[in-house]
């Protein structure tokens, strides 16, 4: 057994000690103890060798740089952000126009209006655009929503 004869207190400190992560007083105490305790000294040595062994843990096989793909994707993100800003502006204008329309006409003319769902979605568009403005992250699962926003752009433009 590794810990036979190993001082219990020292066992907990050896790893941080060899990692250079102990406060100076504690490190000095461990060093002094190691000088007189062969068992702990052997254990410390074994820790060191174990850490050294790890250096041989294989890394990822070499491949081409990720840069071209990352660059292309980041350009798409930037383009999307620009579209979203435009959509948000259009959405705001549209919302104002609807409000005005209802106010002036004073009665329900919904047949002449686009899908009411569109109106429901407008705040979402604005929210996403402002999220993007702040450099927000909408990667991964958010992509579906972004896709929906894109379709919305189309609808707004058609309208």
């Amino acid at each position: 057994m590794e810990r036979t004869g190993l001082c219990a207190e020292c066992a907990e400190l050896l790893v941080p000690y060899i990692d250079g992560e102990l406060p100076p007083e504690e490190a000095a105490a461990v060093a002094a103890h190691l000088a007189v305790c062969p068992a702990c000294s052997r254990a410390a040595d074994e820790h060191r060798r174990a850490w050294a062994l790890l250096a041989d843990l294989p890394g990822a096989p070499a491949v081409d740089s990720l840069w071209p793909r990352v660059a292309a994707r980041s350009r798409r993100i930037a383009a999307r952000a620009r579209v979203l800003r435009r959509v948000a502006a259009a959405a705001a204008a549209l919302a104002a126009a609807f409000t005005l329309f209802y106010f002036v006409s004073g009665r329900d003319n919904s047949a002449a209006l686009p899908d009411p769902d569109l109106l429901v979605h407008l705040p979402v568009v604005e929210q996403y655009a402002s999220l993007d403005e702040a450099g927000g992250e909408w990667l991964g699962e958010d992509l579906d929503l972004v896709q929906a926003v894109f379709e919305l752009t189309q609808e707004i433009e058609d309208f």
Partner: protein, 205 residues
Amino acid sequence: MKPEAERGRELMLRLARGDMRAFEEIVVSYERAVRNFAFRYLGDERKAEDVAQETFLRVYTARSRWRPDAKFHTWLFTIASRLCLNAIRSQRRERRVMRPAAVGGDGSDELAGAPARRTASPPDGVLAAERAELLRRAVAALSENQRRALLLHRFEGLSYREVAEAMGLTLEAVRSLLVRARRNLHDRLAPLLRADEPAAEGEEP
């Protein structure tokens, strides 16, 4: 501040101003380290590459929110380490879904490392490939937190405090993770440690 840290900071500040050359420099300088980290953590080349790509995209989308007082290297590995954790979780979900279909075969054990290709090992002097395999399995057998702490500290050179920051843990928790990681590695690394013993005196046969 170390020159390396200073450089990361500078590149990040340039990127925040929209300098794509700085972004390229960031990707080219750090991609190897991020891919290695993800590969050692996930044990899967493709997933490691996805994580690395996603890490840099997060760097890009967060460019204007980055605080210059944050150490770039630590921040980068905070992102990579979270994405790795997500990858592990979705991998586990996928597996749970796939299990009834008995898809197992390949892929189901790439992480924990089922006894793969057992070769008759020479009694002394472990071959390099076998040595690598032993190390891989020893590290894969650690708990996720132990593995993450170990990789961040031993391979990425993050201090305990930085590991704590990257993992959202206390300094005490990180210390204990590394002590336990070392303890858990003990049995699995024993053959290698014995092989490397400088002068095997008084050791049990």
